[in-house]
């Protein structure tokens, strides 16, 4: 694949690593105390991932390049990359229907 790093431009996929889905939210942060997160909630965060066939939001790291991380909307079947956006940004509207 060719991936366009938002900081470096178009590069070969060997320079990148895939970091899993980008929309997983960590249920714990410094404000929460432990007992507020149930075992089930925590297990959901730790272990459960959708095995998406089609359009998925993912986190990628340009670890053999600038070292930055960014988000990508990619089709896991065709490997077509629809959008790339920076950390903290939201995917463009209508990203789910990009194949239609």
């Amino acid at each position: 694949m060719k991936i366009t790093c938002p900081w470096c431009g178009e590069r070969g996929e060997e320079e990148f690593i895939h970091g899993g889905p980008s929309n997983v939210e960590r249920p714990a942060d410094e404000k929460n105390s432990d007992d507020e997160i149930s075992d089930a909630q925590w297990a959901e965060y730790l272990f459960m991932r959708e095995n998406i066939k089609g359009v998925s939001c993912e986190r990628w790291g340009h670890i053999h390049g600038c070292g930055q991380w960014f988000n990508m909307v990619r089709d896991s079947v065709s490997h077509q990359i629809h959008f790339i956006y920076k950390m903290g940004e939201q995917p463009p509207e209508g990203w789910e229907d990009v194949n239609e």
């Binding site: 694949m1 060719k2 070969g12 249920p27 714990a28 997160i37 991380w69 065709s78």
Partner: protein, 987 residues
């Protein structure tokens, strides 16, 4: 003798350059321009190999990458290569080849006796025949008798390179379509790469007698080539095969730079370049490959593809025989009759399955006075060592019935054509879909997924004018004029009718390379291997060197007939890279030998080496295991080193230790989210030992972290974990907490570390010039001081992995050697002793310090190494904390680290199994295992660490430990054998 079958025409052969070579021990001669196959053919060599299973004599079958029979072992060690297709080898002076799967040689193969056992070798025979007594018993026998070439035993001496390129348009194939495309796009200024697997451009024009603009087509090829070579935006690669098509238009191309010159010639060049070409657009002009007809004994030497026959005649000026019979179901094979006739070779006739064929080529053949047996098929060949005659009989295609009135025709070659299959491999690899073209009876590209297009025969366009038009596409260029030829339709004929017993019971070969027959296909269908992917694996059709280039479609069609399905219903197996075999060397390129996994050297590497350092690979670093003095054994050296550290002072090159600098306003808050210990309460100038966890609560790494300033930390990690931990910190910083003010810098290879360990470490260090107060009161254990040491910036940690007074001196890498040598010089009278990894491991085991990765594994949590209370007590959240409260983390039978006090004098073996109570030997339930074990020089008895269910709750218990029928006993103790009170640290 050598030119026995050479013709008078010139072909593409350079008669001025004769080349001699050796095949199966005999010397032959050919010319520049010959392949090994054409040169052998010119010398009249008919049997070039023996078949895979039955050792049947086999002759040259094709003239290209589809060759299934003529496989050779090419070259001598160390340049040896197995299973090379003789049709692809350009001959060079001194070439040496031998046939594969034959003994003593292909012409006289004593293993042919296997052929008598034919009934045993049907599809799936491995699973059926060799069940008793076992496959283990039979496999050495079968492997010896069946199979192909032999694996080279010596390392490949050649170099290979990877080459990366970007291009606007990649054109694969330089036949009429590919060349027209190159010409059309070249003037646009776009970057173009044209790859051609042959040494010359031209594709099919190299062997067809086509004319363009009234001149030989090769004149046009030469004109176009010259024009392309003059253009800066065009790159031509010959002897280069596009082997794979991957995502986002990435094409791999293997370019053979000097195979045609012979082994060892021009060895300053790489043997092959393996290109990774990223393309905006790909134009696939890979042509088509002819299919043979299936009939009894269609594997005898002399049975060849019809196009290959004219390929040899026109390009190599050699004929495969003296009297050639042509068997076809289409018009194209008539070209072969015409070309043979033109070259003065006798044509025994054209046997055409169709009644009343009417195309222009048919008329031309008829006009030339060549007999046409229309409505006939070849029903067999005769001749033990090659075709001597063939039988033909009338066929009724509508009812699929063969008449009984056969006749015998004398001939030495049967040239067969069952139609053409477009080379859709790259298209299919790109994700593109196929459809079945009823008119041409072949699979053609249907749907494109990436930005590519198949043109010419690869796209299902078979006439020359159409190929040129395809190539030009939408670009308006002048195309050369072609003669139009009317062709009649092809008649599908996949297997000859089996209504007659004498046909049905004879072997009709479908896959020559793997010896698969039509009855094997039918048998697989009867046994319900009807899915094409199952069928392929069960019968091994389409496997190995040729990947079924001539056999696949025939096999699918016959499978379809046997299962009452059409060809599109059967479908094709997946086309996988590579298109033709590529060498392992090309894929590995420079990542071989020492560069496969480059080892990192310590800053003082040369010194270690010179002073007896036994260098070994520790996690990618070449580090001294121990330092052997003259006459000393390894064991003696290790013992001496341990005792020197315990009694005086040792010096260790600790540079691989992971070193990470973390700065920023939020540094403390940030790091507090990774350690099980409290980072925020750490005072400036102090150090703490900590564990870092994964989000699953398991131990990722351990190390000492120190606070250099309120907003400045220095972390150490294990040498193997350093890179991963930096990446881990950065991923969290960038993805989860992007607002925190933190900068993370890896200094592992920027700074070196010299560790001084032992009661005299302070004496030694204070002999260097420094502004750091090294006194016991002002520089306590687990403290850090920054300052100047011998004029160099230094960060010194007072810490210990040996249990002795210790200083870790960190200095910029380039000064490490100088400081090391200075310490060695000033410490001589103190007994300074360099020590290696083994001594370090012994001393930390004596102290019960865990080694992450040895005493822990990927499932260990803080509780398992005695850090449970610390980790749970910490109030703030950190990565992995919540997981420590999961039921699995709080069960009380977890395997935890303990000390093992051995009963007796023999150390335990690492990996030994701790048996459940009440068991005296294996098999028994496993309670734990030994993770670290040494003979302790300090204590004079064995020491060991292990993990056991329940951990420290079982102190005092005696356990049995089993390892390979060896039983020992040990007492579970606290994991510290030496200086339990830690008094030696606080001196």
């Amino acid at each position: 003798m050598s030119d026995l079958f050479r013709l008078n025409n010139k072909g593409r052969i350079n008669y001025d350059k004769p080349i001699s070579f050796r095949f199966d021990g005999k010397i032959y001669q050919g010319y520049e321009g010959d392949t090994l196959a054409s040169a052998l053919m010119a010398s009249g060599v008919r049997i070039v190999g023996r078949s895979f299973k039955y050792h049947r004599p086999r002759g040259i079958f094709s003239a290209g990458v589809e060759e299934a029979n003529a496989l050779v072992q090419l070259g001598l060690p160390p340049y040896e290569e197995p299973n090379v297709q003789a049709t692809r080898v350009e001959i060079y002076q001194g070439l040496i080849a031998r046939s594969v799967n034959a003994w003593p040689n292909a012409a006289h193969d004593l293993l042919a006796i296997v052929g008598l056992a034919k009934p045993f070798f049907v599809a799936g025979f491995y699973y059926k025949v060799f069940k008793w007594p076992s496959w283990k018993f039979w496999s050495p026998v079968v492997r010896r008798m069946a199979g192909l070439g032999t694996m080279p035993k010596e390392a490949d001496p050649d170099d290979y390179d990877h080459c990366h390129a970007h291009t606007d348009i990649l054109i694969v194939g330089s036949g009429p379509a590919g060349l027209a495309a190159a010409r059309a796009h070249a003037t646009s200024g776009k970057r173009i790469i044209l790859v051609e697997q042959n040494p010359e451009l031209g594709g099919s024009l190299l062997y067809e007698r086509d004319e363009l603009d009234g001149r030989p087509a090769l004149d046009w090829v030469a004109d176009v080539e010259q024009r392309l070579r003059e253009m800066d935006n065009v790159t031509l690669l010959t002897r280069a095969t596009a082997s794979g098509y991957y995502d986002h238009n990435l094409i791999t191309v293997s370019e053979r730079l000097r195979d045609h010159k012979g082994p060892g010639v021009d060895s300053h060049m790489p043997r092959e370049r393996f290109w990774h070409i990223r393309c905006k657009q790909v134009i696939v002009a890979t042509g088509a490959i002819e299919r043979p007809l299936v009939f009894p004994d269609n594997d005898r030497p002399g049975v060849m593809l019809a196009s290959a026959v004219r390929h040899y005649v026109n390009r190599y000026a050699v004929t495969p025989g003296r009297k050639i019979l042509i068997a076809t179901n289409n018009d194209d094979a008539y070209r072969t009759a015409l070309d043979l006739h033109e070259a003065g070779v006798q044509v025994a006739g054209v046997v055409d399955a169709r009644s009343y064929p009417t195309g222009d080529l048919v008329k031309a053949v008829s006009k030339a006075g060549i007999a046409i047996f229309d409505g006939h098929v070849v029903t067999g060949t005769i001749g033990r060592r090659g075709v001597k005659s063939a039988t033909i009989a009338p066929i009724n295609l509508n009812d699929n019935i063969l008449a009984e009135n056969s006749q015998t025709i004398s001939c030495d070659v049967v040239a067969t054509s069952g139609g053409w299959s477009p080379v859709v491999h790259l298209h299919s690899q790109s994700g593109g879909k196929l459809r079945f073209d009823e008119k041409h009876q072949c699979f053609v590209p249907r749907e494109y997924v990436q930005d590519n297009i198949c043109i010419g025969a690869a796209g299902g366009t078979f006439d020359l004018a159409g190929c040129l038009r395809d190539g030009a596409g939408k670009v308006a260029i002048d195309l050369p004029k072609t003669k139009s030829i009317n062709t009649g339709p092809l008649a599908p004929l996949w297997d000859i009718p089996t209504n007659l017993d004498n046909i049905r019971h004879r072997k009709r070969w479908v896959d020559l390379l793997h010896d698969v027959t039509a009855s094997d296909v039918a048998l697989a269908a009867r046994e319900n291997y009807a899915s094409v992917e199952h069928f392929k694996r069960y019968t091994t059709t389409g496997m190995a060197v040729d990947q079924g280039k001539t056999s696949n479609v025939n096999a699918l069609a016959i499978l379809g007939q046997a299962t009452n399905r059409t060809i599109p219903q059967v479908g094709t197996t997946k086309f996988r890279p590579p298109y033709t075999p590529i060498t392992m060397g090309a894929m590995a390129a420079r990542s071989a030998g020492k560069l496969f996994s480059p080892l990192r050297h310590l800053p003082v590497h040369d010194w270690h080496h010179k002073h007896g350092g036994q260098m070994e690979d520790f996690g990618g670093w070449l580090r001294p295991f121990c330092y052997r003095q003259p006459g000393e054994s390894e064991h003696d050296a290790i013992t001496r080193e341990v005792l020197a550290v315990r009694s005086a002072v040792g010096i260790l090159d600790y540079s691989p230790l992971g070193k990470i600098d973390v700065q920023g306003r939020d540094a403390a808050e940030f790091l507090n989210r990774f350690y099980v210990n409290n980072v925020k309460t750490l005072k400036v100038g102090r150090a703490r030992y900590g564990l870092m966890l994964t989000e699953h609560g398991t131990i990722m790494d351990d190390g000492v972290f120190v606070r250099l300033a309120e907003d400045h930390f220095w972390l150490t990690t294990t040498s193997g974990g350093a890179a991963g931990f930096v990446q881990w910190l950065n991923e969290w910083r960038l993805c989860e907490w992007p607002d925190m003010d933190v900068v993370i810098t890896s200094l592992t290879t920027g700074w070196g570390t010299i560790s001084l360990q032992g009661p005299k470490a302070r004496d030694l260090l204070s002999r260097l010039e420094t502004d750091i107060d090294l006194s016991r009161d002002n520089f306590p254990h687990m403290a850090v001081r920054c300052g100047i040491l011998e004029g160099v910036a230094a960060r010194i940690l007072r810490t210990s992995f040996t249990g002795e007074l210790g200083f870790e001196v960190n200095i910029p890498l380039s000064y490490v050697t100088a400081i090391w040598q200075k310490l060695m010089a000033v410490g001589e009278d103190l007994g300074i002793t360099p020590f290696g990894i083994e001594a370090l491991m012994i001393m930390r085991t004596e102290k019960g310090f865990i080694h992450v990765g040895a005493d822990t594994d990927r499932s260990s949590i803080p509780d398992d190494v005695g850090f449970g209370p610390v980790a749970r007590k910490k109030k703030d959240d950190y990565v992995g904390k919540r997981s420590l409260f999961r039921p699995d983390a709080i069960r009380d039978d977890r395997e935890a680290v303990v000390g093992l006090k051995v009963i007796g004098k023999i150390p335990l073996r690492i990996g030994g199994i701790i048996l459940a109570p009440g068991h005296v030997t294996a098999p028994a339930p496993m309670e734990g295992r030994v993770t670290s074990s040494y003979m302790s020089p300090s204590l004079g008895r064995p020491v060991a660490l292990g993990v056991i269910k329940g951990g420290s709750k079982r102190l005092g218990e005696r356990v049995k430990i089993y390892d390979f029928d060896h039983i020992q006993e040990a007492e579970i103790v606290a994991p510290c054998f030496y200086d339990q009170k830690g008094e030696r640290l606080n001196v």
